[in-house]
Amino acid sequence: MAGDMMTFNIKDGFMEAVCRGFRSGLLNTTDYSNICQCDCLDDVKQQLACTDYGDFLSNEHPPIATTTIAEKSTDKLVQEFNWVRSQSTAPLTKFLDYIRYSYMIDNVILVITGTMHDRDPHELLEKCHPLGLFDSLASLCAATKTSELFQLVLVDTPLAPYFSEAVTDADLDELNIEIIRNTLYKAYLEDFYKFCTAMGGATAEVMGDILKFEADRRAINITINSFGTDLTKDDRAKLLPSFGFLYPEGLTRLEQAEDFQGVRDACECYGPYRNIFADVGYSSEKSLEDAFFEFEVAQNRLAFEQQFHYGVFYAFVKLKEQEIRNIVWIAECIQQDQKSRINQYIPIF
């Protein structure tokens, strides 16, 4: 809307400009080709020192492991994110919190699963994603039943509205944990989508497209992963988000699908997904997950084409994550001496 252009900069102009500054620090094709030509991880560290990453690995003594690289890069992302969040005002703060909720859900499920298998709580907390940390996460380790979990711990967290009646009464076992994760995530995605649409303007447009793709991707992944398990079609239907490009006709077809071909047929009605499945079918090099990541990168890149909306913050976080995945992939290829597969990262710019 035109009104957005005139009033956005009052509260969020500075933050948007800072976010675009971070985006310009993402690695480009020259940086990637430099890193690909490295022979060992120390060379990678030196190459990264010339980019926006700077001296982030300077305190690590050799030999550096790929997990360290992943950890430190994520730390850098978290630092930048927390800085942006601490300077933001409402409603940008709420928007940034929504980005954090998905990591919180992952952390909660991680802690619950780990507790079920009697892992050490400290070890679990170290494995949690730093963007999704909240105060009462540690006390989740003590609870044993879901109802306890909810009443004691989770009701005070921002995730409380996503726990419906069905989830709080369920038992904790392998299959149910996944169902709980997907139910939570479905509720979170729908809430986020409602929030973005209510904001209107360019934010609704850009985030609407991104979130619809995310919903469809979840739906397709849930369907594919449920083949061969005990999950009934009705239960599966309850986990699919109720928005997205595939909603409602494609989703009804997805609910009926019995195998991969069924999933492919369900997605025929929407052009971009048809292209994705076409790519995946004929060459075995690219998996469906890679194709989805590629599409997500293209969507997030488009978010930067418009000004005066919040989509740039979301897109920056996701693109930075993809970059970290790329760097770790390249580092692993170098370490395991598999240079032939080194170019299978997804270039961003």
Binding site: M6, E16, V18, R20
Partner: protein
């Protein structure tokens, strides 16, 4: 006393008797009863006030983006101040027009009570003319300031990414700032014949 005499003179031209004790019956009578000096001075305040509103709007829109983008790309600091200067120019147009209009609308000479009708018409004409010129200048500068501000914000962000874009986007800003000039030109032409000084 003077205003009352002026109003009687003006009202004397109205044939309808609409001075009911509980107020005006027609909009026309109300509008005619507003003194031309009021019209003129409102015009002057619109010229400066609304122009400054537009300039300030433009400056904060472009300034916030400029400050944020300069964190990662400090080289854009000096060049992009041009956008701020363009917005400031809008306020200067407003000040200049306000001064010109004020000299036309200034203190009327004691003998403004002119026998005959052409004096009254001249006063009304000048009053309306200065009011309209003030509106023209103010509103065109408001839009110009906002336009230059938004383009300046995009200019700062694009320059931070890719230095080659700066000059191209500056051309857009130059076209935008021409809008304010249009308003000034039209305002000056409109008030060429307006004056409270010489009403003979």
């Amino acid at each position: 006393l003077c205003i009352g005499a002026h109003n009687t003179l003006v009202r004397g031209m109205n044939i309808t008797n609409s001075t009911a004790s509980d107020g005006y019956l027609h909009w026309n009578d109300l509008l005619i009863d507003i003194s031309p000096f009021a019209w003129a001075n409102i015009g002057v305040s619109a010229a400066i006030g609304v122009s400054v509103l537009g300039a300030a709007w433009g400056i904060f829109v472009t300034g916030s983006s400029l400050v944020g983008a300069a964190i990662k790309a400090p080289r854009i600091r000096s060049k992009n101040l041009i956008s701020v200067i363009f917005c400031e120019a809008v306020a200067i147009y407003g000040v200049i027009m306000a001064i010109i209009l004020e000299t036309k609308a200034g203190t009327p000479p004691p003998q403004f009570m002119v026998p005959g009708l052409e004096g009254v018409y001249k006063l009304s004409f000048s009053g309306y003319g200065i009011f309209a010129a003030g509106l023209v200048v103010g509103l065109s500068n408001l839009c110009c300031g906002i336009c230059v501000g938004i383009v300046g914000s995009s200019c700062a962000l694009s320059d931070a990414q890719n230095p080659a874009l700066f000059v191209k986007i500056l051309v857009v800003e130059i076209f935008g700032s021409a809008l304010g000039l249009f308003g000034v030109i039209v305002g000056i032409i409109m008030t060429a014949g307006c004056s409270f000084q010489d009403t003979r």
